[in-house]
Amino acid sequence: MVHDGDEPTRHGADEVCLAFTRALRAAGVAVTQDRTHGFLAAVALLGLDDQRATYLAGRATLCAGPDDLERYDQVFDAWFNARDGLPRTRPAQPATPGFSDLPATDADGTGESDDEVVRAMASDTEVLRHRDVAAMTPAERARLAGMFATLRCRPPMRRTARHQAWHRGDVDASRTLRASLRRLGEPAEIAWRRRGVRPRRVVLLVDVSGSMSGYADPLLRLAHRFTQSARERGGVVETFTVGTRLTHLTRALRLRDPERALVAAGETVPDWSGGTRLGETLRFFLDRWGRRGMARGAVVVVFSDGWERGDPSLLAEQMARLHRIAHRVIWVNPHRGKAGYEPVQQGVLAALPHCDDFIAGHSLATYAELAEVVSRA
């Protein structure tokens, strides 16, 4: 079978191994010269005759993390297990579904298949990011729910009165003295200190009246995301729903799992899709909670479309009060991002002079923007 002319060229073992590291590098694993060296030394130690040992030696010396391991396995298999002695062609890639392959809406949604769909269609998620959340089908909403986890919600920071030890800054007299006492009164190193930083409190007021009903679910998910990421950094996010009455939701949203938190929130709020008496509930919030300290120095975010049934002058008055207490007041209006929107609703007109920011809030992309504004407040 083998003709004289094209006898397969023989390669030394070191050559084969070296070439393997090159192939690995081509596959995207960051193989450096010293790693290659380590690999050859390891193979020499374990013996070349044992393929399994060669495999393990490479895993230990050439890989730097779990991401590398999978690639390594593939390249190793292709390089050393090519049975006919020739480099094999790449296995056919499973065709990635394109845009047109959107699955039929499965409202009874099994979470698993939805997940796969999300992963397969990155471009689709990009579209979803900019879609109006109120106009989505249940399946799209379910997929969007998972995407909330990608939002980066860093809490805003404030300086504290307390100082903390630092390697430069002001002289920390008492710590310097204590250190010196510990050394029997000999002057020791000078200790330094600086003002510490802590997360600033964030208060979210979510309008759950009828005109906002399409946004209630995503907004509560957003509130949950804020709450959880602030918690990781030791911050506090307080959430209330406003409608015909004021409901404190913070406790429900502290549940780690978003689905359970939302169920708990749903059970707590009595006035879903009711009317809006924004001015009155805001006054209640300020009297009962805000003035006593919750809104003081906090970043307050109001999610509302500004359809006010009550007296707009009351709303203006309360917003002015809020603005005086809070560090920053941000008004998020889901209709703001839509074409042709003008802030003509009486509520919005009354509130706008007392807001620091007025931003859109109808899609995931705008929520990401909001998170950015809040974290910089």
């Binding site: 393990l56 230990a60 010396t61 730097a64 993390g65 050394r183």
Partner: protein, 294 residues
């Protein structure tokens, strides 16, 4: 003393009750022979720290442990001067000086930086005691600066103390680094090390581990416990899937309650040993019934 092969390593570790699979044994063997640090990553509770302990025990070497934490620096890892004792020494010299002639300034100064005033912290201790096993635990918790410092020590196995000179290990210590991947380690540090990702063990191996680590637990119970834990790990909705350490805890907890056969009531009552989140506990409790019946 000298380990000849991969199988040798596995057997020696097995004697101490640490059961490792072929890949871990190979990496350990390579680390010993190539005198390179071994970087172990993996889920919490898969036996990263235990490997160092088992290695020290099986090779009959002292184990020096350096637990990393945020803000750890060289004086806590390497060495420090015992300042109060140095001052005391100076005062003693003063008192003695009043009686007889004064020692020269240089002599007094020199006597201050003596080896007896040196506090050896883990890394220096490991170099001095070598051969030893140095365990750098949870290196991902330390800061980047500390990593750079480790890098220096791990590449030369020597430490220079300006006042005393260089301490070099006669035999490089066996170094094991563990990381829980709370942050990505620097590439330069990884390059120095052999890398291994420890997976959760398979069913049979975990049953063996339970048998060897908790011999008081009956075999039937051990198998039942492991089967259940393996099923739980296969679910992807748990926030913190139980590790081997949790399996052992649970098996022991059940044993202390006098259980020989797992049933719903005792399983639910002892769940606290297995899952550590309220949400997880609820999910597991819901699933237990069907899992136990299967």
């Amino acid at each position: 003393m000298e380990l000849e092969s991969t199988r040798d390593v596995a057997a020696r570790l097995g004697e101490t009750g640490y059961l490792c699979d072929e890949s871990l044994a190979t990496v350990t063997y390579l680390a010993l022979r190539m005198q390179r640090p071994l970087l172990l990553e993996g889920e919490p509770g898969t036996g990263k720290t235990a490997l160092a302990e088992a290695l020290a025990e099986s090779l009959d070497l002292p184990l020096v442990r350096l637990q990393c934490y945020e803000g750890i620096d060289a004086t806590q890892a390497l060495y420090d001067w015992d300042f109060p004792r140095q001052i005391l020494h100076l005062r003693a010299l003063e008192a003695a000086g009043a009686a007889k002639e004064q020692p020269s300034v240089e002599e007094a100064e020199k006597s201050l930086y003596d080896a007896r005033f040196l506090l050896a912290r883990p890394v220096l201790a490991a170099l001095q005691q070598s051969p030893a096993v140095l365990l750098v635990d949870e290196v991902d918790r330390a800061d980047d600066e500390f990593e750079a410092f480790l890098l220096e020590v791990l590449s030369t196995y020597q430490v220079t103390i300006p006042e005393l000179g260089t301490v070099k290990a006669a035999v490089p210590p066996i170094v094991i680094l563990t990381s829980n991947r709370t942050r990505e380690l620097h590439d330069a540090l990884k390059r120095r090390c052999l890398y291994h990702w420890i997976e959760h063990p398979g069913l049979e191996r975990e049953v063996e581990i339970v048998r060897s680590r908790a011999p008081e637990v009956s075999e039937a119970l051990g198998r039942q416990v492991v089967t259940l834990v393996q099923q739980l790990r296969a679910r992807d909705d748990l926030q913190k899937p139980p590790g081997v350490a949790e399996t052992l805890d649970w098996a022991r907890a059940l044993h202390h309650l006098g259980t020989t056969e797992l049933d719903l009531a005792t399983a639910a009552a002892t769940l606290g040993a297995l899952v550590k989140y309220r949400e997880d506990a609820d999910r597991v409790r819901q699933a237990l019934d069907s899992m136990l019946r299967a």
